[in-house]
């Protein structure tokens, strides 16, 4: 379980393995990107490795992990970590486990939409893009 509150410069991070939920919300340009994201990346990698270790016992029809991103600004250093986090889930996706990735953006913010499209293409998993009014 990870529950980090949002600040002006770093996003809210919520990871609940019991409810198969990961959320990243807000501005992502923490002062020390490594110190901020490394523990998150590490815990998620441990979780996905654990799932892979018991993959034969998992009911593929009922498993659904939801990742939700609702970001306002991202710096390139954060993008690298966001990519690594999604990459951990890609391993589950490759084992036919259902991974849903929702990318929210303001309807007149091409920049965040494009960031999401780029991440989706790089990682090879389609995202669901949800616009909302500014």
């Amino acid at each position: 379980m990870i529950n980090i509150e949002e600040t002006e410069h770093s996003p809210r991070v919520y990871f609940d393995s019991d409810h198969n939920t990961f959320e990243l919300i807000g501005v992502s340009r923490p002062e020390d990107v490594v110190a901020f994201y490394e523990p998150v990346r590490s815990e998620i990698e441990a979780y996905t490795n654990d799932i892979l270790a018991k993959i034969d016992k998992i009911d593929r029809d009922s498993f659904n992990f939801m990742l939700m991103f609702d970001l306002y600004y991202i710096n390139s250093a954060s993008s690298k970590y966001i990519l690594q986090i999604i990459d951990s889930f890609r391993k589950l996706h490759h084992h036919s486990l259902n991974i849903s990735i929702v990318w929210k953006y303001e309807d007149n913010d091409d920049q965040i939409l494009e960031d999401g499209e780029d991440l989706s293409e790089v990682i090879g998993i389609p995202f669901e893009f949800i616009p909302r009014k500014q």
Binding site: H9, S76, S79, K80, Q84, D109
Partner: protein, 169 residues
Amino acid sequence: MAKNEILIYKGPLNHEMINGLIHKVQNRFIELDVLYNLQKRGITILIELLENSCNYMRKLNNEEIADLPDPEMHIVQSDDVLHFYSGNLIFKEDSKILERKLKELNNIEISKIRDYYKFAMVGSMHSQKGTGGIGLMRILKIAKSRFNYSFKKIDDKFLYYNVEIILKN
């Protein structure tokens, strides 16, 4: 053509100062009623430029640079165009690497920059190196223009690196 000064800054850079500069620019954008989409792209470019400068200046922490020029950031708006001018000290030997990188990026066809960026992201995903190169590529991808840059000699050890990028709506 009316020109508006958005930001003129010359001084030290750290995370807090970057936050202050971003706030200042955001407020100025609102004051000048800059198109929202241009604001968002402009702030993203500003973040990348300032963080690149700040990260590089950390590398010079142990150098005696008190009497040498500080980093600078200048943003001007004319109609729906934003001009970004950024500058900082750079070690002479690092300038060669940076110049090679900038030349390489400027040689990429504008329509292909996004593909290069995505390719570079894959390469950087598990790399231990910093993301300075990716940051520059991201700026180019957002601006869809070219870097105009120069290196001016300061002394035998340092040059002053200036880069200009234009962002159109």
